[in-house]
Subunit: 332 residues, 2 copies
DNA sequence: TTGTACGCGTTATCAA
DNA sequence: TTGATAACGCGTACAA
């Protein structure tokens, strides 16, 4: 990656390095227009492209934001990423993306720290037991002046956050379904080690208890479409396909719900004729899905935007709380 | 972003900067183990994190790859991104992501060039008329030693590419449907300015011509779910819902097909009872969709992986060609 | 093997 | 306003 340097431009324009810097890469001091024009011309003809690395070193700020997600191909995360990306752009920052499916979040954060990103946004679902080394790394990052924003829960001291009210979402959704006359429930859950999954399940249980009910079954599988699919196979194995009739399946998120509905279909059961299914998130591609999925909407892109704003604004890091909105469709 | 520097570590360990550098950030020269241990200890207690910017400046290589996509929330692009991300990781590179929905690709490439990414992967669909400034920027980037890989078409001289055989896909798919006895066709297309959309349409037409048939209608709308939805509304407005019965709708990609099916449902038409629909790509979330969508599969994650391999391997840039695989499901 | 010193490309301070 | 020049943090010939 050789390239034209600023001093080459300066020489060509017959000015000093400092002057060239001032006209090409903003400064408060404004060189004379005639000089400026000469520099711009030289830069243009030479094909000068400022070296962001060198600028970062000199300015001690990189114009980089790091985003760590669990799986960028999951619509939940890609929607958030889209929001983050958009705002990063308006804040004139570039997006460094790390996916951690199967991998350590620690590696991603270390890499971001090494690259001196101005901020790190953690969108990967927090796990109940946080790796202490990850915590230490993030704290050191903050001490060095880096900003951190967590999405989902507010689990890092001194960091900003966009918290998602999963517990209320779980209990509101379930409460609504109880009021709609449903009495038999099952929960298709992700690993409870995942806070998001655990909180939604807790809300679900609370609502049932309040109504004097109890879940007939609860499963624990992957937090993705595959997990939803397996959950249903699990259920079928336990109580048989016929045993599922009349049941209301609350899945820990939309992709699980879609996977579940697919599995039900393969088992010869139809939603909402034979049983009901609901999810969480209201991911974008739901619109094209039939039956329409009853869910709790979280404005994912907006959440990403807010996280980026908190990360990149000069203000003190704040915590923004997001509550879900019940979306009743045909599936439940 | 203040942080512990290498010289602080060196001083603490009582060694020279050079020695510290050698033990902490790989080198062929191997300091004595006793010394090395002292340096490592100092680094550990001080909380040293190498400054990637400074290293980049000194090594003149950044360990960054740039990926430009059109819309990261689109499953087509997010699948590719997942593949690129995975391989970037194995090549020990960080991923710089830019989305260009509504925006200029030129901005993204310029930013990547400024950040001296070792390579740039262009996944955004090429437009028929390429902005000459974009071309110039990419060519300069290549002259400076940057590697470029395009996905879709091979449109940049000297660059690597993963080409996608859209034309054959269009004609093979259509040919298969003709053989299945379909005689009445419509194409739900994206703007022909998009090469991908145009090529698929061309293949579609060629197959029909070969069979002595012709499309009854062709539409031009957005290359996304919304566009598919509107295409159907468009069709309904032209020929009425009843007029669509018996038609086979070939959409320019899967998300358009899904949008179309949703619109058909809203118009009271059912697939595959009343008419048929097919798409392209075989995006991952299709599995949960009913009816199963007939499509042409392109291994998106794998395409992303290949692109990253070409970009990051030391070998001369090569062009890899990908042909689709027909996937017959219930929808057509 | 270890250390010295220069270069990487910019910004910013301080004189002129 | 313009121009030297010292950082910025690190890698690496070169010398010791």
């Amino acid at each position: 990656m050789s390239a034209v340097t600023l001093s080459q431009v300066a020489r060509q324009a017959g000015v000093s390095l400092a002057t060239a810097s001032r006209v090409l890469n903003g400064s408060d001091r404004r060189p004379a227009e005639e000089i400026a024009e000469r520099v711009r011309l030289a830069a243009e003809t030479l094909g000068y492209v400022a070296n962001a690395q060198a600028q970062a070193l000199a300015r001690s700020t990189t114009g980089l934001v790091g985003l760590v997600v669990h799986d960028i191909a999951d619509p939940y995360f890609s929607s958030i990423a889209k929001g983050v990306q958009r705002r990063a752009r308006t804040h004139r920052h570039q997006l460094l993306l790390a996916a951690t499916s199967g991998t350590d979040q620690l590696d991603a954060v270390s890499a971001f720290a090494a690259h001196r990103t101005d901020a790190i946004i953690m969108a990967g679902s927090r796990r109940e037991s946080i790796d202490p080394r990850l915590l230490a790394e993030l704290e050191r990052y903050q001490r060095n002046g880096g900003r951190v924003v967590t999405i989902g829960q507010d689990w890092l001291e001194g960091a900003g956050a966009v918290t998602i009210d999963n517990r209320s979402a779980g209990s509101d959704l379930t409460g609504m379904l109880v009021e709609a006359g449903r009495t038999r429930f099952a929960f298709l859950g992700g690993p409870d080690d995942l806070t998001t999954a655990a909180e939604r399940r807790a809300g679900f249980r609370a609502a049932l208890t309040r109504a004097g009910l109890a879940a007939e079954v609860e499963t624990v599988h992957g937090f993705d479409s595959e997990g939803g699919y397996e959950s249903v196979r699990d259920l079928v194995a336990r109580v048989g396909a016929e045993g599922l009739r009349g049941l209301t399946l609350v899945a820990a998120n939309d992709v699980m719900a879609l996977g579940a509905i697919a599995a039900l279909r393969h088992a010869g059961l139809h939603v909402p004729e034979d049983l009901w299914v609901a999810g969480f998130d209201d991911i974008p591609n739901l619109r094209d899905f039939a039956p329409g999925l009853t869910t709790v909407r979280f404005p994912l892109e907006e959440i990403g935007e807010t996280a980026a704003d908190i990360a990149l604004s000069g203000d003190a890091p704040r915590v923004e709380h997001v509550v879900g909105e019940l979306v009743r469709r045909e599936s439940a």
